[in-house]
Chain length 204, copies 2
């Protein structure tokens, strides 16, 4: 019924498995990620237009002042953001657009795209979260404590999210299915089908 | 995560296939229909407490004045309604409660139970709707015209419904699956999981 794609904002603490779930979703060509725009300099493995769209800091500031960004943030002196136009065009082409962003950006998206589906990806319990962080093997005890503390701080934004999707250990595909179900159900929502009553008048 | 059942209001025009879809849903013991209360006299095939709960007209009016009904209507001198208490108790027992009611009742339910999922069941197109009405074989041309006209009038309430679920010809089970998906997705909604953040603090 609805030819317009859904906008999915996926957030979650380190250890929630976001990256893996997004990869699972992208196996279906109906899903796509929006490419971020950044003012940081390209690095060795960057491919302009693929990893990021690169602009200067002044160009980025102009985009901000013209209200062209659906969300943006500054990290260690560089800007990162998502242009409204990119997202709108992808949605109108029928793609389900995934934004894997943190909580502050998610709230910015919701104000620009009220129909966005804010999904909070969560480990099933505290022990699994901690085990995932340790499992990476590259984190020091200090890193782990810091990430757990960040996760707890971000939880204050949970009430602004539409859905909590639990990513159980070893069940990534099942978790991706839950997100696909959210998208399928969203496409049946009355607000996406404003012209639906017309079928009762199309008499041959 | 959520042990409270979902409340489903299912409406749709004659010919939408409501009765069939509800039967499909009830094959899963997690679903149940709420038994209506009526002031009409029991008939031969009625079983009190199964087909209806029977009360006198005065008892029904007392229920109205005490605000005990989630919705009610009067047809040819008899009252029909759904007690709030019945619905609440079924939901708290974890059942997904189905109310197969018309549009006016649906809006009453939404005001008493804001978390209710209002589902509009629809034939895929006008021709299918008309074919279903004719297919019953028991309707006169006048009946069919009247039902089509009622369907069009009820469509004014469509914007108050949360979801439009299309019941394609010969695909009742698929249609029931769409409703099950709505319920599954509803159980992941943040509003049904207010205590979710606690998992980040339950350290052993």
């Amino acid at each position: 019924m609805n030819t317009h794609g859904s906008l999915l904002v996926i957030s979650g603490p380190a250890g929630s498995g976001k990256g893996t779930i997004v990869k699972h979703l992208l196996q279906d060509p109906a899903y796509a990620v929006s490419i971020s725009t950044t003012s940081r300099a390209p690095r060795g493995d960057d491919i302009p237009g693929v990893t990021y769209n690169f602009v200067t800091a002044d160009e980025f500031k102009d985009m901000i002042s013209r209200g062209e960004l659906a969300e943006f943030a500054e990290y260690v002196g560089n800007f990162y953001g998502t242009p409204v136009k990119t997202v709108s065009e992808m949605l109108h082409s029928g793609k389900h657009v995934i934004l894997e962003i943190e909580t502050q950006g998610a709230l910015q998206i919701k104000s620009k795209f009220p129909e966005a589906l804010l999904i909070w990806l969560s480990p099933p319990d505290y022990d699994t979260l901690e085990a995932r962080l340790r499992g990476r093997g590259t984190n020091t005890e200090e890193d782990i404590a810091r990430r757990l503390s960040t996760a707890k701080r971000e939880l204050q934004f949970l009430p602004y999210y539409d859905y909590i999707v639990v990513n159980e250990a070893g069940k990534a595909e099942e978790c991706a299915d839950k997100i696909r179900a959210i998208v399928a159900v969203d496409s049946m929502s009355t607000k996406h089908n404003p012209d639906f009553t017309s079928i009762f008048y199309k008499k041959k």
